[in-house]
Each structure stands twice: as structure tokens, then as C-alpha cells.
Symmetry: C2
Subunit: 919 residues, 2 copies
């Protein structure tokens, strides 16, 4: 028996009979039918009306490549398939009043540049052209189709460049004195078809083939041959695609939407791609038109459903009467077709189990689905569609979870502009990084940083950005550049830093020296307020009101994340330093505070003087007096935290940054002292400043990141640890007495040697016992340490014996493991490293699993082995980054902790990790 | 058969017959005989004349503890042993004209506080006292001995505190109106003996035992009982010593050096402990005297050998006649005894196989060895004695190597003062850290640092030091403090940093405010030159000439290190940046340059301007022009290196420090700009300084240690790597053409990701090929990387595939692994951490094996697994530190590299590591 080389994609009874799973693009189908063929098979299997077609398998191609001849039986099977199509359509191939015209397309397992393009309208000759003219009642169209076919076939199948045919067309247009192709006369076109035929004959020594079977055979062979074309081979070499896959050939009936008022062509979405709504059938069409007409945008398309049409008209101030007359919906024009369409859409959505983006043509009252694919959509609609599909019973919860990417959630929670606001659009660039931002335009990164530090909202505007400007970028609310594309420095940095950005906005002309940009006759000077929309790339003059995306209003997101909570194994906590942040994080689903930074309280204006006094204290008594002033400030903050986190754990980290961060700037003091020495050499002010400078010099460190900070400061400054502990435990005790369910945990930062932990632990426990005694109440107190020094990870077995929990401070751990000072590296070389591919990613954003992650792994394994009850989390910024969360899941962490606004992202990412890594 | 409980230590035929190995203190002997008993056994086994003795075993004690009775047969064996001693000595126990007196001592396996003290002169009673008086011709002495024995026995054996007896003695002295014990009259002593007897009877209800066997029995039981005394038990609990070891009892014949002119007592050394010389018998003695007389220092001791005696007299300006009359040597006084002594000393040295420090007594012409032990000695004599003993065939080479500690070698190579120089000694303190230093006295750490930076030699003088002053200390040549002991901050820091120091010099009075110290009526002001000797704690006014300890003059050291080279497995290279350092290191035995720092050349005055131009260059062209000016400077230096290292490898490390280190100080520029803005606002100088400040600000980094440096700079500054490579390879090629055998190796610093290495390697290889082409000569070029970033160690498997060698930069690796900036940590908290025992050692001096070492181990294992040909060394400062060298040996490094002056230390330490870790 001859092998089966040709398969029919036939409505409702696809020859590909295998029962398909929910994924129609099964690899097995693609292997044999290629990507396009598999799509045809799937659509017909789903029961959609697809213009009858057949696919010649990749196996035929492989055979052909070996023998350089069509495989045995293939041509006969092709003829049989054609006959079947003639039967289905009632058309006849290459002849008759209702001629069958087909398209021929290549279709490999993956799409590939260099493979053969589509040949349309194959089967045309003088006879079928004439029939086409009659059927479409459009002789001009029939000749235009004919001349296009000849040039397309000559070029694509025969390799005779279409440029030669273009020249002839230009000649005609010049002769007729017209500019557009569409303006040439019918007579001209008739002349051109004859000229094209002559050109063909002159080139190949024989007439242009009028026999459609000849046309088909040549086309099929051309598809096969194109597999080994120069460009395709080079592409496969580059991409590592095997050369022995071969390509399939797809032959499909041509349908025409321009065959009169009962014909049409258009696009449709099964749900609203912008909002995810599922109220009616979304999309638009043109009656009596071809696909090209829709693209050309000359005629105004109609809406498909009546409701959609009415909403559309209302938005544009078009009266119902005018709408019904000039732009009737498909529902009104062809109610039966519309009903069938609704059923088909349901069928396809059920089959693909996702929102579909479809192309269709109606040929003389018959609806044909030309293409369907899973529709692109916004972040919001991603969430809504997934949740709706699940609630409609189409997909499982886990599938719904998998459909939504963490990025979608992130986008949902970004600020955007109020769509109802008046906007003064002045330019449009690339939407490089989503989000909306408002601020004063500043044309220098350094000044942007300064202005931001003064509390101003800034939009940094530059011709383009360079690594030096990163600190200025990060201090801004948004970035606008005149040059650069989606992968320019500005775009990469902005996306990486969740900073709204519009880049490559070539309409504006930035003049850095005059600190302004012009667009048309408009001038925007430094200090003028502008608004940029990173979602769509638009730039507005003045302030556009921002809409904060409120989590609690996003019903479907809340539902989805509840499902995520059912699935995930990792806990999700938030990093928050005050009651407000804590409340917000609980609302977003945080199960505790993974990191409350006490330095926040040290920066408090009220405590400021006491902090300086504490640092400059010469005796233990002076220091204790200063600390006593700080205590009440801290305690109040802690009480707020406990109240907000009622019933949930709160990890307080002892003060971490270098002490001199709390003192005045050394550079400014040098300036002031120098100035006063000249201008007021005997002033008290000078004496005072000199004293402060001396102090600051004494505290100054060459590399403060690796200096006297964290537990080192706790050990060196007597009373520091004790005061913070006292404030915290006191707050916990007092809250408990007020009925709050407190779960205090204290965390020691920057431990490198277990002895540091022992010393700090002893102090802590003494103070805690003392306070509980004083307050007459017991609170459960957990004691742990941050793992942020490589040595701590390397000696986890010892450290775990002194701690009840670990929390990875992966920011510092990355700094030390890579030897990158974050303050310096990002501006000086790190962004360039990422741009040039030296590093795959910015390790401060995505956890470096190979290096830093290896330390994490060692630490988890050895820490848990030494202390099986050890609770381990992460509180570095990586705790909110999906890839890093996946890693945390895999190495067996107990929870991640991140900024409140990333808690929803983390909940979803943790669920993904659980699903992905399930055995 | 009864068990043997008692063993004779009998001259020449010790009952302990087991053949002994070279270590006389075999554990097995100590188990049964205790430490003292084992010593007696060993000495007698060696053939030395030891006052006859016997040892009752620890086993007897154990048995006694169980039954609370002397073990069966033990007392009979004791009596037999006593008879044997009587026979040997011709003395009779507790009676007769020549009475046998004995000492009784406890002796456990390890010495232990709380165990029973010595009872001397056991066997005394009225009869034997009278005989002793006659024998010594000293009645006073005999009564003194008797009263001492009664109080000692009553106290130690019977538990009747000697304080009661002291009171009685005080009463006597008051009565007689004398101050010293030695001043009481004979009559007084007689009275005292009778009083003591009465006191004993009053306390115990019976006469003081006159029967020597009773005395002995009670003493032996007291020794056994002391094992379970309160203090001994507590001590064992604390030290973890098992309670079932028990103690031995040693009973030994008393001998007397005060029995006339044919008696004497003294100490001797088999070799000169100061120099190690082996020309004659060293030591001194007093004729007709007891040990106490030697200690009392009232009489001038004689020298033992004639040569020694003559040299001694000559040094003191004593005429030969006077010497021979007043201080004749033992060699002259008792030539036969002297000859016997020489033989015994040889015998003991041969037995112990090391220089011996001996105590001896001559009793009526008979020489007795009381004790021998391995003698303490200086660093120099350590080396000389070990080498001599080996060359004399006494010990093996490896034993000689083991005898010398790395510290001895280090001390040998420290500078010292010319012993012949005139010195103005003004004070003496504790010799806290060895070495000699000369410099101006400076009384403030900050000023010390500044003066040092101006090129002055400084001695920092402080009341005591605190951690803040560490930078000032390290910048000084030596440290002198008024207060503090051998473990004070100053002492610990100085020893750790090889800095000569005299501490606790209470004779001086430091006045920090007046910046001076006074000693007597002498005033030393800031800026005055002083000299301090850390070997002996002496402080001199003015400059004392220093003697540099020249390696090449130290014959025995050279020999010893040649033996070390035969044994060691680790290679030893030096860190040197110029021809001079390289030559010196070769002389000291370096087998290559493990680290040549190119920044040395960048700091060169001639290249300085070019370096600044290179940094501030705005275009690649400007930068290349600047680099072209640097190239010849570098090349010259490299040529000198290659010439010095003819035939040996030279590793050149590309520039490592942050670029801004080459630029002017930021603080100074701020000051100058501020000043000029007021004083000369329109000056060119201001404009210039402002420009420079802007540049410096642009380059400034918060944490430069983790910023733009090392290969990061090489990647960001186009041409930087290329220029250095060109200079290096060009130098190698040109040297080769001149006949030098060059082995160039290039090392990339600060690699954290393998991609950095790939990029740098590619550039290097291109330039190297280009230069070789130009020069028309091929040189073998190795390519490798420093491992100094934790991530590099963690990803060694990948990095090893791009490198031919690794070299651990353990300074940086320690900084990153611990998160300690060395610039800050040592002054701000690290010394205190070490002082308080938070860290066992300063990890910058002794490699932290637990943390940093773990990374090293991971890196070596995975690096060599990925690339078996990988050569791995260490070039951090730890490469010259013995414990770290041992670690390097154990983890399988190929070589260590250190400062030239530490090369000899490293050679020895490497040999030790090889011996110690041999299976």
C-alpha cells in the first residue's frame, strides 16, 4: 500500500482523526503537518467552517529531498484531494463558471525566514479569470488578480523577480499619468496581463502555464525546494534547527468577500481583548470587500454585533439612524450568518479553551473561518478572561493560574492615566516601559537626582541615556528619550526598574544645553510639567490625573490570587516598616512582615538629634541617655506594626546601615568649614562645624558597605541592640495586653561568624526577659538572623544552631558574592554588562542562581540539617521576582518577603512555582 | 605472682627495659610512671648518673583509690627498692653516719595544680640530722633542714598548715631582732626544731614520726590521696582529664652540693642557647653550695669549661690570674668530674637528640644529674642546632626541619640593632613584638600616618593604643606604649603585623597634649629620634644603627631551607613588582613571580600624567594616545622582571585598583574649589580645579572596593588591557631575543563571571599574537585569572574552562566572604573582635579555613575536575603564613606566593605541611 502523503482538512471530518487534547498545536501534528497544516487540522477538527484544504506532509518533503522526485503516489493523492475539494465546494479547478482557485503555502514545524511565500489565486487562466469577473461582477478586479498571479507565480515559484513586472506596471502608470496602482484603467490592466505573459515566455521559452495542475505541481516542488534554499539553510544553522525536518505544503480553497452584498470580510474576538468582557461578539468587518480593503483603511468598518455597533456609534456621536443606514452590524445585515458565527466562536473557544482572535470571510452568504489564534490582550483582560473561563467551567483553576503571567499582575497594579481626563497630546514615541508618570521635565541626570531629593516628581528627558545617568533615572518618576529603540539603554534600565518610559520619541528635539525640548512650535523648558504614558508611548503637556490601580477593586485578580494561595507552597510576607505599609500588605494578601527595618525610625525627624547624640557619645552613660530618647519613637512605630499585623508574625531587623549615614554630609562640611575659615574664622559656627567634621571624618569609611554596620555596630555600640530590643518587646507586650495577637521575631543583620550571633542573642534574651518581667506578660519571641554575608551561608550549620530562623538578604548577599557595590556598579558598568550580554541579567533584579543561589542552596541544606525546625525565608528584593521565587520554591524556602505592591505578584509566582515543579 | 607496683630508676640499668624510640616521653611510660617518673626512667635508661630512685606506678594509685589500702605487695616492693638504693649509695635509710635521705613527689600523666608538692629530706630525725651536720660540716644547715622538713611534712603530708610554723619562726626572729631567716642563730634553730615537734604532738596527739619508714608510708598515702583532693578534681573537671588516671609516686635519693670543696651544684647547656655553638660545655656552678645559693645570686658562679671561663673573664676585664684564683672552672677544679660530665652530656644529647638544659649536683666528688630537659633557645640557635645535629648524624633532616618553627626563621630575618653600637638606654618595657626600629617619636596616630606618608620613619608613642589608631600604627616603624601587657591592644596588633613594639614601659611618662614623654629628667619631644628593641624591650635615645639580617649570610638557614625544598610539595613564588624585588626573591629561593602588580607602574611619576589623561579621555583615540605614553614605562619594568627571573615564570596581573586612586584627592579639591570661589572666583586655577573636581566626582564611588576596578575597568576602558598586554608580551619577546628564558603568564583580576574572562582573554590573545608577529619571535604565554570574588570560586567549573591557571587573591576573597572592608574593619572593629575572641584570628592574617577556605576548597576541587591541567596558586598575604600554607597544601594547591622576605618562611612552612600531612 502506498504511504499516505496527503491529508484533507475537511470541515467537521478532518482526516486527522486522532482525538486532540486541549492543546491543538500538539508537537506530533506539527511534525507531520507543519505549523500551518496543524492549525488547519485543528480548526476543522473543532468543527469550524474552514475553506476546504489539504496538506502534503513533511514526510513527502523529506522523501522528495532524497530522491528529487515527488514520492510515489503523492501526486495521485493530491488529485484525489483536489477532487474532494471540488465536490465540497461545487467548484471546478481551473475551469468552469465557478472555478476553484487555491492558495499554496509552505509550512514547517516552526516558521522560518527564507521559506516559500504564499501563492494566491492559483488556478487562474483566461477562462477562470472571466468567470471570476462575472462572479464578482468586477472585471477590473479579475484582471488585477490575474496580473498579480502571473507575477507572484513567476517570482515565487519560478524565481523570476517581481521587480521586472513592477517596472512594466510603472511604465503603464506613467503612460496613463496616474500615481496609484488602483488608478490604472481596465484597458491598461488587460494590456499588462498580455505583457506579463510575453515576459514569461521570453524568459522561460514557453507560455505561462494555463494548466492549473501544471501550476500546482510547479508550486509544490518550489515549496519543497525552498527548504534547502540558501537563506533557510543559513537560518537553520544559526538557530540550531535540524535540516531533516522538511516542510509541509498547504493547498487551500480561495474564498472571496467581494462577491457582492452577501459577501464580507473581517476580524473578530471572542472576548474584549482590552477588558476581557464577554458580553457580545467583538470585532469589525467590511461588506463586499477583500482583506486588503480592511487593511487599507479607506472604508469605515462596521461592528459585528448590534450592541457593539451601537456603543461604537455612541462614542462617536453617530445617530442610531445614521448608524443603521450607513454602518449596520453583521447581526442586522445577515442575522443567520451572525448566529452561525456565534456558535462557531463558542466552538473554537471551547476547543482552544481561550479567547480567540479570528479572521473570517463571508462568500455569498457562506461564512468561512480563515484563521484563529489565541488573542493578544491587556494585563487586565488576561486576568479576567482566565478567571471567567475557569468559572464558566472551560478551564481548571491551575490552567487559569498558568495563563496569567506575573507581569500581567504587575501591570494591573501600575498607575495609569484617567482615560476620561482631557489630555494635551504633544508627541508619541515607543512604549518602552509600562506605567504612567507625571513630573517636571529635567534635562540632566544629576539635576534630576537633586530635584528628586528635594521631593519633586521628575521626568528625566534626554536625547538618550548612558550608564552614568542611572542614579538620576532611578530617582525620577519616568524617563523620556528622543532616540533609541525598545532595547536601548533607557528602555532596558526603565523596564528593569519598573520605571515608566517613552523612548525613541523622535518627534521631540531635545536641547540639553538650553535645557528644553521642542515639538512643532511648542517648547517645553526645564521645570515644565509633562506626563508620559509608558503603556502607549504618548507624551502630554501638563499634568494628567493619575489613577492608582487599587488592588481591592480588582475582583477577578482577588479571585485568581485566592486560587494561587490554594496551590502555592511558599508563604508570602511583606517588607514594611510602618503601620500603613503593614495594613496595605495585609490587604494585598501578605501573611506576615518578613522585614521591618528599624533604621526607618532612626531617620525620623524627632529622633534625629538623639541618634546623632548616640553616635557621638563618648561614654556608655551618654550613649544610654541618647538611646533613651530614641526608645519611645521606636516603640510607637512597633505598636502600630503589631496592631496592623494582628495574628501574623512581624520580623524586626536591628539597625543595619553604617552609622555615618545618620550624620551630615562630609563633603558639605568640608565646604562649609573651608568657607567659614575664610569668612568667619573666629565664629562659633566654625567651631561647631569643625567639631562635626572631625566627628564625621572619624566615622568615615572607605567602603561603608563592608564596614561598621549591622550586628558589628550592635556589638561595638553598647546599648544599641538593647534599646531596640526593649522598644520592640515592650511594644509587643503592651499590644498583647490590649488584646492584639502578637508574634514578634527579632532578626540580627550582617552576621558572618556564629559568635556575633551568640553575643547579640545573649543581650537580646536578657533584655526580653527583663521587659516581660516588667510588663507582667509573656510574648512568644523568635530569634533569627539574616543571611547576607557569604561566610554566613558557608557556615550555616553552625549558625543554624543559634537561630530559630534565617532570612536571606539577597541584596547584600549579591553585593558580596559578586563583589558589586550596588551604589556604584549599576551606574558604572553593570547596565552595560547586561546590555552586552556579559551578564544574562541584572543580578540585583533576578537572583543569580549559579553563584548567589549556590550559596543559598548550601545554606538551606546545611542549615536545615543542623536545625530541622529552622524557618527560612528571603527578604531581599528578589523575594518579589518570579524567576527568583521559582528558585526559592525549588530550594525549599518557607516563604518569600517583598514590597507590599509586589505581594500579589509573589503569590501568583509562588503558585506557578508549585505547579511547575510538581513531580 | 604479685603485680609489680614499684620500678627502680637505676643508673645504667633502669628496670624499665623497653627499648625506647627517639622520643623519651613516650605516652606509654607516662601512663604508668607519670611525667616525672618517665623522666627518671628515661634519664637512667640513657645512662646518666641520676640519684637512685624508684617510682610507684599509677596503677598502684588506682588500686589504692578503690580499696583505700596500699595494694598487696606494694609496701614490700617499696622496701626492696629502698634496700637497693641503700646498696647503690652505701647510705642507710634514716640512720647511720651516712644516712639516706629521700624526696617524695607526686607525678601524674600531666602536671596538675592541687596535686601533692615535694617533700624533701625525708628520713631526717635527730640522729640523721647529726650525721648531716658532720657530713656537711654545717650544723646550722642541718638544723635548718630539720625544721624545714618538720613543717613541710606536717603541712603537705598531714595537712597542718605551714603558716603555724611560720608564726613560730617569726616569733624567733623578733626575739633575736633579725629580719632574714638566714640571720637566726644556731641556738634559735635548735629551739625551733623542738618547738615544731611540740606543735606537732599538740596537734596530732602523738610524736612527730622519727621512723623514716613511717614518714615514707604516710607520704606515699598522702600522694595517692591528693589525687582526689578538691582542687585536683576541680581542675580535671575543667580540663576534661579523666579521673581514673591516678598518680605515680617518685622516691629519690637526696644529694647535697654543700658537702665540702669536692661538692658543687649548677646548670649546664649542651650547646650555646644564644648562638647554638657547640664548642665547649656551657653553664655555671657554685662550689660547696646548694641549688638555693645559685638562685639567691649572692655568690658569683664559676664557668664550667675553661674556655668558657676565660671568655667570661675577658668580657668582664678579669685577669687570668684572678680568674684562676677566684673563679676557676670545673674543668680546672675537678678535671675527672668534668670529663665524666662531658660524656654524660653527649649521652643525654644523643638520647634526647636535642640540646639539653641540665641541673646537676656534685656530692663529694660524685656527679649527679638532677634534671635534664630540651633547652630553650633563640631563633638563630634553633636553626643552627637543628642543622648541626643533623649534620652530626644525630637527627634526620625531617626532624631538623620540624624542630625549627616558621617564627624562628622570621625572627632571624628581622632587623636588629648592631650589638657593638653605643646605645643610650633610657627605659625598658615588655618585649611585645620582636624586631628593632628607629624613627622620630610621634604622639598621635593620625600625625604618625601623615608623617609616614611624607616618607618619615616614625615610632608611634602612646599611653596605650585603641582600635582607631591601627592605621597610624601600621604606618609606623615601631610602637612604644607606656601601659598594657603582652596581650594589650598594642602588643596584639604589633605582633600580628610584624611591627616591632615595646609596651608597658612604665618608666616613661607620656604626655599626649604636650606631645612628649619624660623618663627621669630626660624629655623626648615629638620629632626626636628614638630606637626601640622589640627583642628585649629596651628603649634608646637617638638613632642606633640597624643591622639588616642578610639571608645570604645565614649558612645554616640556607642549608635547612635546601632540605625543606627536598621535602615540600608546594611551590613557593614571590610577589614582586620590579627587578630588584624579583632578584631578592630569587636569592631567597623563590621559584617564580606569583604576582607582579602593574599598578606599581601606573603610580610611576613619569607615567602619572599619561594615566590621568587615559582616565579623563573622552574618545577612544584620546585614550589610546595616553596609553601609548604609559606603554614604554611598563615595558621597561617588565624587561627588568624577566631578566631577574630568567628561566622562571612571571605572572603579571592586569591593573586592579579603582581608577580614581590615580586622581587627586576629592576632599582636597572640594577645599581648594571652595577657597578659590571666594578668593579668586575668575581665576584659571579655579576653572581648572572645578574641571578636575567634576571629573573626580564622576569617578567617585561609595564603595570603591566593589566598584569599577580589575577586569571591570579592563572591559569598560577600551585599550587598557591591550596596552598592558602589549607592553608585557613585547618585553617578553625582546628579552627572549636577548637570550633570556622567559615564561610570561598574564592574570585577569576580579573575575566574577566567566564571560568577563572570555572577553579579556580574546583581547589578550589577539594582542599577543600581533606582538609576536611584529617581534618575529614566539614566547609561551599562559593565561589565567585571580580567584578573589566569591562567585568565581562558586563557579570555578566554568571559569576553569577558560583559564590555564588560578591564583587565589585571598585578601579580596576574605573581604568579600566576610563582608569586611580591610581599610575600615581593622581600625573600626576587627581588632576588638579578635581581642574579645569573637573571631579566633584576624582573617586577613590567618586564612579563615571554615569560611574563605571552604570557597577555596570548592574552587580547587571543581576547577581541577573541569580542567585537570589547571595550575592553582595563592598570591594573597596568606601565602606567607604558616597555618594558611598548611591549608594550601592540604587542599592541593600547586604553589604559594608571598612577599620576598617571607619566601624563606614559606619554604619551611611548606615542608612542615608536607611532613605533617603525610599519610
Amino acid at each position: 500500500m502506498t504511504k499516505k502523503w496527503v491529508y484533507l482538512a475537511r470541515n467537521g471530518k478532518s482526516e486527522y482523526t486522532k482525538v486532540l487534547g486541549h492543546d491543538p498545536e500538539l508537537l506530533e501534528m506539527k511534525e507531520i503537518f507543519g505549523g500551518k497544516g496543524a492549525g488547519l487540522m485543528a480548526m476543522t477538527a473543532a468543527g469550524a467552517p474552514v475553506p476546504p484544504a489539504f496538506t502534503i506532509t513533511t514526510e513527502a518533503c523529506i522523501e522528495y529531498m532524497e530522491t528529487n522526485e515527488l514520492p510515489e503516489g503523492m501526486w495521485d493523492q493530491t488529485l484525489e484531494a483536489l477532487e474532494d475539494i471540488e465536490e465540497q465546494t461545487g467548484k471546478t479547478f481551473g475551469e468552469g463558471k465557478n472555478p476553484l482557485l487555491v492558495s499554496v503555502r509552505s509550512g514547517a514545524r516552526v516558521s522560518m525566514p527564507g521559506m516559500m511565500d504564499t501563492v494566491l489565486n492559483l488556478g487562474l487562466n483566461d477562462e477562470t479569470r472571466a468567470s471570476l469577473a462575472k462572479l464578482t461582477d468586477n472585471e477590473w478586479f479579475s484582471y488585477d488578480a490575474h496580473r498579480r498571479f502571473i507575477s507572484m507565480f513567476s517570482d515565487i515559484v519560478m524565481g523570476y523577480s517581481r521587480l521586472h513586472f513592477e517596472e512594466k506596471l510603472e511604465e503603464l502608470k506613467e503612460k496613463e499619468g496616474v500615481e496609484l496602482d488602483t488608478e490604472v484603467s481596465l484597458e491598461g490592466l488587460k494590456w499588462l496581463v498580455e505583457e506579463y505573459k510575453k515576459m514569461y515566455k521570453a524568459r522561460f521559452g514557453e507560455e505561462f502555464p494555463t494548466d492549473p495542475y501544471k501550476q500546482l505541481e510547479l508550486s509544490i516542488k518550489a515549496v519543497f525546494d525552498s527548504w534547502n534554499g540558501e537563506r533557510a539553510v543559513a537560518y537553520r544553522d544559526h538557530e540550531g534547527i535540524p535540516h531533516n525536518w522538511g516542510t509541509a505544503v498547504n493547498v487551500q480553497t480561495m474564498v472571496f468577500g467581494n462577491m457582492g452584498e452577501d459577501s464580507a470580510t473581517g476580524v473578530a474576538f471572542s472576548r474584549d481583548p482590552a477588558t476581557g468582557a464577554h458580553e457580545y461578539l467583538y470585532g469589525e468587518f467590511l461588506p463586499n470587500a477583500q482583506g486588503e480593503d480592511v487593511v487599507a483603511g479607506i472604508r469605515t468598518p462596521h461592528r459585528i454585533s448590534l450592541q457593539g455597533s451601537r456603543e461604537w456609534a455612541k462614542e462617536r456621536g453617530i445617530s442610531e439612524e445614521e448608524r443603521a443606514n450607513r454602518f449596520p452590524s453583521l447581526e442586522e445585515m445577515m442575522p443567520e450568518v451572525y448566529q452561525e458565527f456565534l456558535e462557531i466562536v463558542d466552538m473554537l473557544e471551547n476547543y482552544y479553551k481561550d479567547m480567540q482572535d479570528m479572521e473570517f470571510t463571508i462568500e455569498r452568504g457562506k461564512l468561512w473561518m480563515l484563521q484563529t489564534r489565541t488573542g493578544k490582550r491587556t494585563g487586565a483582560s488576561h486576568v479576567k478572561i482566565a478567571v471567567d473561563l475557569c468559572e464558566e467551567g472551560v478551564i481548571e483553576k491551575e490552567t487559569a493560574l498558568e495563563r496569567v503571567k506575573p507581569m500581567h499582575v504587575e501591570l494591573l497594579l501600575r498607575p495609569s492615566f484617567d482615560p476620561k481626563a482631557e489630555k494635551d497630546l504633544i508627541a508619541k514615541g515607543l512604549n518602552a516601559s509600562p506605567g504612567a508618570a507625571v513630573g517636571i521635565a529635567v534635562f540632566d541626570a544629576e539635576r534630576a537626582k537633586e530635584a528628586a531629593e528635594e521631593g519633586k516628581d521628575v521626568i528625566l528627558v534626554r536625547p538618550e541615556t548612558v550608564p552614568d545617568e542611572v542614579p538620576g533615572m532611578l530617582a525620577s518618576k519616568g524617563v523620556l528619550t528622543q532616540k533609541g529603540g525598545a532595547t536601548s539603554h533607557a528602555a532596558v534600565v526603565a523596564r528593569g526598574s519598573n520605571l515608566p518610559a517613552v523612548v525613541g520619541c523622535e518627534q521631540i528635539s531635545v536641547d540639553v544645553n538650553r535645557a528644553q525640548f521642542t515639538v512643532g512650535d511648542k517648547v517645553v523648558k526645564e521645570g515644565d510639567v509633562i506626563s508620559i504614558d509608558g503603556f502607549n508611548g504618548e507624551v502630554y503637556a501638563g499634568k494628567v490625573p493619575l489613577i492608582k490601580a487599587e488592588y481591592e477593586e480588582q475582583e477577578e485578580l482577588i479571585t485568581l490570587l485566592e486560587w494561587a494561595d490554594e496551590v502555592r507552597v511558599l508563604g508570602v510576607r511583606a517588607n514594611a516598616d510602618d503601620g500603613e505599609g503593614a495594613s496595605e500588605s495585609v490587604m494585598m494578601g501578605a501573611e506576615g512582615i518578613g522585614l521591618a527595618r528599624t533604621e526607618h525610625m532612626f531617620f525620623d525627624e524627632a529622633a534625629r538629634e538623639a541618634v546623632v547624640n548616640m553616635i557621638i557619645a563618648k561614654t556608655d552613660e551618654e550613649r544610654e541617655a541618647a538611646l533613651a530618647d530614641i526608645l519611645p519613637v521606636q516603640e510607637k512605630d512597633f505598636e502600630e506594626l503589631f496592631a496592623a499585623m494582628d495574628g501574623k508574625p512581624v520580623i524586626m531587623r536591628l539597625i543595619d546601615p553604617p552609622m555615618h549615614e545618620f550624620l551630615p554630609s562630609r563633603e558639605e562640611l568640608i565646604e562649609e568649614v573651608t568657607r567659614l575659615r575664610i569668612e568667619a574664622p573666629k565664629s562659633d559656627e566654625l567651631a561647631e562645624k569643625e567639631k562635626m567634621l572631625e566627628l564625621v571624618n572619624g566615622m568615615w569609611e572607605v567602603n561603608p558597605m563592608m564596614g561598621l554596620r549591622g550586628c558589628r555596630a550592635g556589638i561595638m555600640y553598647k546599648g544599641l541592640t538593647e534599646t531596640q530590643t526593649r522598644a520592640y518587646v515592650q511594644a509587643a507586650c503592651r499590644c498583647k495586653k490590649r488584646g492584639v495577637d502578637v508574634h514578634p521575631e527579632i532578626m540580627i543583620p550582617l552576621v558572618g561568624h556564629v559568635n556575633e550571633l551568640k553575643i547579640e542573642r545573649k543581650k537580646l534574651e536578657e533584655v526580653a526577659a527583663e521587659v516581660m518581667e516588667e510588663e507582667g506578660v509573656e510574648v512568644p519571641l523568635m530569634f533569627g538572623t539574616m543571611i547576607e554575608i557569604p561566610r554566613a551561608a558557608l557556615t550555616a550549620a553552625k549558625i543554624a544552631q543559634e537561630a530559630e530562623f534565617f532570612s536571606f538578604g539577597t541584596n547584600d548577599l549579591t553585593q558580596m558574592t559578586y563583589g558589586y557595590s550596588r551604589d556604584d556598579a549599576e551606574g558604572k558598568f553593570l547596565m552595560q554588562y547586561v546590555d552586552e550580554g556579559i551578564l544574562p541579567e541584572n543580578p540585583f533584579q533576578v537572583l543569580d542562581q549559579e553563584g548567589v543561589g549556590r550559596l543559598v542552596k548550601i545554606c538551606v541544606e546545611e542549615g536545615k540539617a543542623a536545625n530541622p525546625d529552622l524557618e527560612i525565608g528571603i527578604c531581599g528584593e528578589h523575594g518579589g521576582e518570579p524567576k527568583s521565587i521559582d528558585f526559592c520554591h525549588r530550594v525549599g524556602l518557607d516563604y518569600v518577603s517583598c514590597s507590599p505592591y509586589r505581594v500579589p505578584v509573589a503569590r501568583l509566582a509562588a503558585a506557578h512555582a508549585a505547579i511547575r515543579n510538581r513531580e
